[in-house]
């Protein structure tokens, strides 16, 4: 092994692309980067997934640079200019019932949406993964108890359960996130358990058991990496539902509180004028639609790339 082949070449000789696509990696780093790059190449083949990814990148940049992009302050009211139509002067998407610029509110609302999505995506799958893999690997009574708890959560309609949680915890965006997470984890637990059951009986798990590895090491180092990819896919596909649930809570007045520009709350406010001033409710609705669609497209593409059943064969 020569030293030169262990570092990415800067120029000449073998290109970075060749280095990444090499079938004979010479270091851990190259092997790992190469695997990532192969995945990226496969994802790039899927045009719809790239569209989804592009929408999300745009959304993230909008959220990051909201103060620079937004033409107006989203909270400043101008009652003289209320309910202006689309394309009116200075207000591209019109104004709402208090004369606030809808475009600016949508741009700032992207921050809230991303905040909700990120928090839910951190809590629900992690809880589900923990419960599911422990349940599946341990079996016996542990499995029975954990799965019955999961069943209890699954027995309620999701939004109703979330409503109950928010009612108990109090209205507000953090509590809405918590409530959605608490109702979203059981499907992940079920899925992680089902995968664990198949993985548990495979030869490579037997092989590591024969090296004296304990259950904790097996779950974390050998089972999680295989469950995570399908969880990621599932989460991206569920994102649309999560955004909609958050918007639904906002719409019912149990999520983000006014004057916060959360998209669901904006629809709720615009509902009163929906016949005469349709854009007030429609514009945030379109934003929710676009982001949900983006997550779905990306999730579909990721499923093709990450599904361990394909890459294993």
């Amino acid at each position: 092994m020569s030293m030169t082949s262990q570092t990415p070449p800067s120029s000449g000789g073998q290109s970075l692309r060749q280095w990444l696509l090499s079938d004979t990696p010479t270091s851990r780093r190259q092997a790992r980067l190469s695997a990532l790059y192969q995945g990226w190449l496969a994802l790039r083949q899927n045009h719809m997934a790239m569209v989804g990814l592009a929408i999300l990148v745009v959304l993230i940049s909008i959220a990051l640079f909201a103060p620079l992009i937004a033409p107006h302050d989203p909270f400043v009211q101008d009652l003289a200019n209320r309910l202006q139509p689309l394309g009116s002067e200075g207000h591209l998407l019109g104004t709402d019932s208090l004369g606030r610029d809808i475009l600016s509110r949508l741009i700032y609302g992207a921050r809230i949406t991303l905040y909700i999505v990120a928090l839910v995506a951190l809590i629900a799958p992690v809880v589900g993964l923990l419960v599911g893999t422990i349940s599946g690997y341990a079996g016996g009574w542990t499995d029975v108890i954990l799965m019955r708890i999961t069943d209890i959560f699954l027995a309620f309609p999701r939004l109703v359960l979330a409503l109950a949680f928010v009612a108990a915890l109090g209205a507000g965006i953090e509590n809405a996130v918590l409530a959605i997470s608490l109702t979203a984890w059981p499907p992940y637990a079920r899925m992680a358990r089902a995968e664990t059951l198949t993985i548990r009986s495979s030869d490579y798990i037997s092989a590591i058991r024969l090296q004296g590895a304990g259950p904790l090491r097996i779950i974390i180092k050998h089972i999680w990496p295989l469950c995570i990819s399908s969880l990621i896919v599932r989460v991206t596909l569920d994102m649309a539902g999560i955004i909609l649930a958050a918007a639904g809570l906002g719409f019912l007045g149990l999520g983000a509180q006014p004057p916060s520009p959360e998209w669901g709350a904006m629809i709720s406010e615009g509902r009163r004028f929906i016949l005469d001033h349709w854009w007030v409710a429609t514009m945030p609705g379109l934003a929710i639609f676009a982001v949900s669609l983006a997550f779905n497209l990306l999730g579909d593409g990721l499923r093709d790339v990450l599904d361990p059943k394909d890459s294993a064969s």
Binding site: M1, S206, R209, Q211
Partner: protein, 251 residues
């Protein structure tokens, strides 16, 4: 003669009380130190199950299993895994799809308390004829034969005395089978290993082993030397049937 492995009146069960399967019925055998012992039989005869019981992968068993004179209890300790290792049948299923060769071997060595992991990984790859170029590859970048070599390297990592081979070549092409069987013979000579090899292929067992047990429906019908088998000195008619099915081949 020193026995590496001794099994007396071993019964193995699968399933729970509702549907209990008696997979191995009162099996007894002795494998001398440094010997190569074959277990032959058709699918469902319980030959692989005996290996599973030895390694603790089939926990419901009774009877006596002695490894190098020490009887095994319900739990296997790390010392046991330093003495007995196993190579699985299907190299496409026995390697973790998301772990590189390096990860597989390093973790094994780490679990057995070795600290000079880097040198040992390279040495193991050398031993199984792969060389350092294969160290950072993932299973999907390897052929079936190469995968089985990695699995053999993993089994050799803790420097065991006894290697259990569960149909190690049945998923491979004949030309690759020849390479793997030669490699196993060489390793046995180099490391003074004891082999217990399960196979449905009499020709493979005859090539690799000096003694074999013939199994059917969970029972050991007879234990005989390969020479006796070749000479057709069988005590049980079923062995005869197996011999006829395998031996009348040209090539």
């Amino acid at each position: 003669m020193n026995a590496a492995l001794e099994i007396n009146a071993l019964n193995v069960y699968f399933g729970d009380h509702g549907a209990l399967v008696h997979a191995v019925k009162s099996a007894s055998l002795t494998v001398a130190k440094g010997a190569s012992f074959g277990l032959v039989g058709e699918s469902g005869s319980g030959k692989s199950t005996i290996l599973k019981a030895i390694t603790g992968l089939a926990p419901q068993w009774n009877g006596e299993i002695k490894v190098e004179g020490r009887p095994l209890g319900a739990k296997r300790d790390r010392n046991f895994y330093k003495t007995v290792q196993m190579v699985f049948q299907d190299p496409y299923a026995s390697l973790h799809p998301r772990q590189s060769v390096d990860q597989v071997l390093s973790e094994t060595l780490y679990l057995h308390g070795f600290r000079d992991i880097d040198d040992r990984v390279n040495q193991l790859l050398q031993d199984v004829g792969l060389g350092p170029a294969f160290r950072f590859r993932y299973p999907h970048q390897l052929s079936g034969g190469q995968r089985q070599r990695v699995a053999i390297a993993r089994a050799l990592a803790p420097q065991p005395d006894i290697l259990l081979l569960d149909e190690p070549t049945s998923a491979l092409d004949v030309s690759v089978q020849a390479e793997i069987l030669n490699l196993l013979s060489d390793l046995r000579a180099a490391h003074g290993l004891t082999f217990v090899m399960v196979s449905h292929d009499l020709a493979v067992v005859a090539h690799m082993c000096d003694q074999a047990a013939v199994m059917q429906h969970g029972e050991i019908l007879e234990v005989l030397s390969i020479d006796a088998m070749r000479a057709g000195q069988t005590a049980h008619p079923y062995t005869r049937t197996l011999l006829d099915a395998s031996a009348n081949r040209v090539a």
